[in-house]
Amino acid sequence: MSFVEVWNFIIGNPVLNVLVALSQLLSGNFGLAIIALTIIVRLISWPLTKRQLNSTRALQDMQPKIQELQKKYGKNQQKLQQEMMKLYKEAGVNPLGCLWPMLVQFPIWIALYQAIMRALATTPDNLLDLANRLYSWDIVNQAIPLNSKFLWLDLSQPDPYWILAIIVGGTMWVQQKMTQAPAVDPAQQSTSRMMLLMMPLMFGFLTLLFPSGLALYWAVSNIIGIITQYFFTGGWGYLKFRSPFQSTPAKGK
């Protein structure tokens, strides 16, 4: 078996069939099927998300200590890094732990992108190709061909009104802001600020290029992420947090 065949057998075709079956269960609404699949994916990846949220909460709790270290070893970056790593180790926190849920989602993104394009079958060739990928479940075959319309969107095409791009970018910024610890030194702060803007802008831009079905997945996934984050960490996290290097606004007017 080639890599493509293995991929389709393990991930590609199962995601496609689940998506089509969900669409049939949800009155032939493919947009709702994508939303339902997003929730399922978030549930499956919950153990990893929980680990990430634990890391985020621990990092929040460690902020006073990190600031202390910053003040103490601010001029010796090497020592500062060593002490911070020591601190992370003692607290059992992996600062890169937040990356795992994102990495896990990569194959899902690819499979979902393929599934959306294959399921909607915008060309006759794609429709014929779909026949070889569907399981023999009645629920799947009765759903074909799918309706690509959802709200104002054609799920096989990018959103022409940019609304989804704004939602994807905005929700991603909020989610990142909630989890991203403020930089403790001014040099890192500008990098951090750039990162905070870069990812939402990039995904917002990609939303303009990719089928809106995939962007719908991103938007819903971000919103679920924000809600989970809010309830798990008990608030808006770093969204309300201010770096000690940021100027404090004058109190009282």
């Binding site: 994102m102 992108y113 294959r118 006759p124 060739d125 014929l128 070889n132 309706n147 990812m199």
Partner: protein, 402 residues
Amino acid sequence: MFLVIIALLPLTLVSCVPGGAQVARGWSGTAVHDGIIYVCTVDGRVVAINSSTENLEWSYSTTPVTTPSSGLSCGQASVTTAIYSIPVVDRDIVYIGTYSGQVLALNMLARSQDLTFPQRSYGEWEWDCPIDNAKSNAIVADLLVSADTIYVSSSNGRVYSLDKEFGDLNWESKVLDEKHRKLWTSPAIQGDVLYASTYDGHIYALSAATGELLDWSFASEAGFASSPVIYDDVIFLGSFDRYLYAVKIGSNISVWKFPPEKPAGNWFWASPIVNEGIVYAGCLDGKLYAIDAETGEELWQFESKDQRGKPAPIVSSPVLVGNLLIIANEAGNVYVINPETGDGERIENRENGDKPTIDAQIIASLCAHEGLVYIRGEDNRLYAVDINERKVSWDFPLAIEE
């Protein structure tokens, strides 16, 4: 920056991995008229080949279309026009529907004389019927040509009636399938009524003269995958729910559906053919079924295979050559079948008996003429298969030679 890189990586992959692209290659079949074979190529040309001399008579390139960017691929691209409909020859004119939404009428006499086009001033002519938004008006279904009219199913969900001589619009129907819009199956005509099937599971009756919807329609739970075929006031057509339906015109209940109990292994994608009370239906599960047209009873089934011994989808309709049935499967195998018994024989590859009959996938419709079956392979070659000799007689490269 690390995050940006790891985010970009899968998205780049997403654009590159197979399956994401919206491919429209076209799978137009062949037509034969007066010893000339007409076939549309993968690169959007209409080609005429002399069946006796096996030489190219003429070639016409359709206008390339501009496609928008997709995924991470930036900018627009100019691509050849895909052609799905079979060329239809009527007197001296070859009619073709294109994926860019045009109906072309090419005068083959003038083409063979290598004259420039259009040729209205010389009494020779051709016309096309461009529609504004090419993508949404793509023509996928075969054209239906009657005495003085061409009926065209469009991807905007409408059926059009065009004057056969000048291409003027006679009428356009209302949108038949609001949900999907795609009308990728061609209508069938009986008397002065057109019957059109839709992906939302309806058969509609339209007045051939005005395009108005008539009183009768038929509704099914699943969409219809194949074009309707009429025989003895019964419409036969395949469905996405993996059944073949027989629907009596005027009735709201199907006469029968096949198989009677469990559905078939896949869709009945190709239109069935009906001969002497027997329906021959190719299925994407790799089987050809012979069914009693009246009762829906299975008479026999024949399973076509690929070179690994697995069933291979039958995408194109079977054809009759004399008293023999000919089918081709996607794996490239061509079979000669006895329609009475269902016994089949695979035609072997010319060079290697272990290989498929032709070294390419077969998706396009077959065309039979004087004991030969003409097949356009997905390798962009035309193959002539001699049924009596049970061999590939000759083949012709359809790609442009640099």
